[in-house]
């Protein structure tokens, strides 16, 4: 039973004749980690912004639990690429921010915020200032903040894109752990092929001009990690490499097709 449903979504920037997304249909159900992978210009950020409610589609329908999505709401939590934390508050207040907006008492939201910080391995950082954190720690706070508001689905906008390779690897593992424990459906966009293949239970590959889905895959590498296998073992598994190369080839064949089209 799908929770989030996109039916034949198209999107267009105002004043631009070319659509950024054309005829996108997808669904996200419980225990799914849906990754949208695509090169820049493939409309993946637009797709996330549509689901988050920051922009409206020019055609099609987005529903959450059968109810049409209208504008941003706490039901759809977002983790941003550049953390978007509030520097005038400490870590604990940032994590509890959504609850503060909802009018939850200070005591209750601090309890919840501490739980969420424990979930992302940041216990002991409650009273740190935002600018004292590293990039990876900021993303953890961003994740904890989104989870604290208890959204129905979690949307992640290239959350590890600005991190170094070592931190990114740790954060991917952390995300799988959190996803497993909270059982929240996750929609994540990335341009990192290995990240997409590793994390996704369901992968969609987007191609540009206009943004469209050119491949859908069901994968289980993330679940294998959650079941206890090591990340390195999974990523060096021939099946993982094969999947990665398959996706990579697909991206390039799309690109050369696009170039041929331009030349013609």
């Amino acid at each position: 039973m799908a929770l989030l449903q996109l039916e034949r979504i198209s999107a267009q920037y105002p004043g631009s004749p070319e659509p950024v997304l054309a005829d996108i249909s997808l669904s996200l159900g419980p225990r799914q980690l849906l990754v949208a992978l695509g090169p820049s210009g493939s409309g993946k950020t637009s797709l996330l912004n549509l689901i988050a409610g920051f922009v409206e589609p020019s055609a099609g329908r987005i529903t959450l639990d059968g109810v049409p999505v209208k504008g941003p709401s706490a039901e759809r939590g977002v983790v941003f690429q550049d953390d978007a934390l509030l520097p005038w508050q400490d870590v604990l207040a940032n994590v509890g921010f959504g609850l503060e907006l909802a009018g939850v008492s200070r005591e209750k939201r601090e309890i919840r915020a501490r739980e969420m910080l424990a979930l992302v391995d940041l216990t002991g950082f409650e009273n740190r200032r935002i600018w004292q954190l590293s990039g990876g720690q900021k993303q953890r706070v961003g994740l904890a903040r989104a989870l604290a508001a208890d959204p129905r689905v979690l949307l992640m906008d290239e959350p590890f894109g600005a991190l170094d390779a070592f931190t990114r690897e740790q954060m991917q593992a952390l995300l799988l752990q959190v996803w497993q424990r909270t059982a929240k459906p996750v929609f994540l966009i990335t341009h990192d092929i290995e990240e997409a293949v590793f994390l996704a239970t369901d992968l969609i590959l987007l191609a540009p001009n206009p943004g469209q889905i050119v491949e859908r895959l069901s994968l289980d590498f993330g679940q294998r990690y959650a079941a206890g296998e090591s990340a390195r073992a999974i990523k060096s598994d021939p099946r993982f490499i094969e999947t990665r190369e398959h996706v990579l080839a697909k991206v390039f064949s799309q690109r050369s097709a696009a170039t041929r089209q331009e030349r013609a």
Binding site: F54, G71, P72, A84, L86, G98, L101, R129, W131
Partner: protein, 277 residues
């Protein structure tokens, strides 16, 4: 800008990681310059190169200062003149902050408010306040109201403009983050826009206070019966040069103290400003 408390992990742009060997810190060079100036002042007056009528020696100014504090000049002590000036700028500043910040938020946030208010502010802002002082005097008389109103107008524009700039440059990702956590429009202003704009608001207050203080002193030179500007002006009419010099020094000192106070306030209220955020 140089004395923010920086945690060990953050390196400010422009700061150097390689320790530079300095025999004299910049602050000490400034202090020595001041001492040298006072020494020069003392030297030219003590040797009689300049008549006391044009420049009294530092000692005479100090003595006069003591006299002003204890017995006063033109019916008021130095404290009373100072108090008159400070209460005028305090009132003007208070009203300006209370009104200019909401107006600035409206300009930065709302298209219609911007359309109405922006041209009005941009029209009167470049006019030197003393140019419309005569009109204010015609309307409101020569009492306290016209002086407070003048200061208010002088301070209002920089704060409103700085606030609007701060509101317009709020990080859109922070707004979206708050929206996707369920923030209403009012909550966005209260929890995201206002704190984001606070560094700019404080910069506006700093600029406004500078303009306001010079406007006030100039207004007191023209139309007042108390205040530091009045004290200097009336002393000049009787060629009491030591009171003139003393008045100028006090005026400078107050301006300096206000600037330093606001910088300290800025460090305290917006410690994140200038950090990588």
């Amino acid at each position: 800008m140089s004395s923010y408390e920086i945690p060990a992990i953050a390196v400010k742009p422009g700061s150097t990681l390689i320790p530079v060997r300095r025999s004299l810190s910049t602050r000490w060079i400034s202090v020595l310059t001041l001492i040298a100036l006072v020494a020069l002042w003392w030297a030219v007056t003590a040797t009689g190169m300049i008549e006391p009528l044009f420049l009294p020696p530092p000692s005479a100014v100090l003595q006069k200062g003591w006299l002003l504090v204890t017995t006063g000049y033109m019916d008021s002590t130095l404290w009373q003149h100072l108090g008159a000036s400070l209460s005028r700028i305090g009132l003007g500043l208070g009203f300006a902050v209370l009104t200019a910040v909401p107006v600035g938020i409206a300009i930065g946030h709302n298209r219609i408010a911007r359309g109405i208010l922006d041209p009005l502010i941009e029209f009167y802002r470049p006019i030197p306040p003393l140019a419309y002082l005569p009109l204010i005097v015609i309307w409101c008389g020569i009492g306290e109201l016209s002086k407070v109103l003048l200061i208010y107008l002088a301070i209002f524009a920089p704060i409103a403009i700085a606030t609007a700039t701060g509101v317009r440059t709020v990080d859109p990702a922070k707004l979206r983050a708050a929206q996707s956590l369920g923030a209403t429009r009012a909550q966005l202003i209260r929890h995201v826009i206002l704190p984001s704009a606070l560094p700019d608001i404080l910069t506006g207050v700093r600029i406004g206070l500078g303009v306001g203080w010079s406007t006030l002193v100039a207004a007191e030179l023209i139309a007042a019966t108390s205040g530091l500007g009045f004290m200097v002006q009336s002393a000049a009419q009787f060629l009491v040069t030591d009171v003139v010099v003393l008045g100028i020094l006090v005026i400078a000192l107050i301006a300096f103290a206000m600037e330093m106070g606001l910088r300290a306030l800025q460090r305290k209220l917006v410690p994140w400003h200038g950090q990588a955020h």
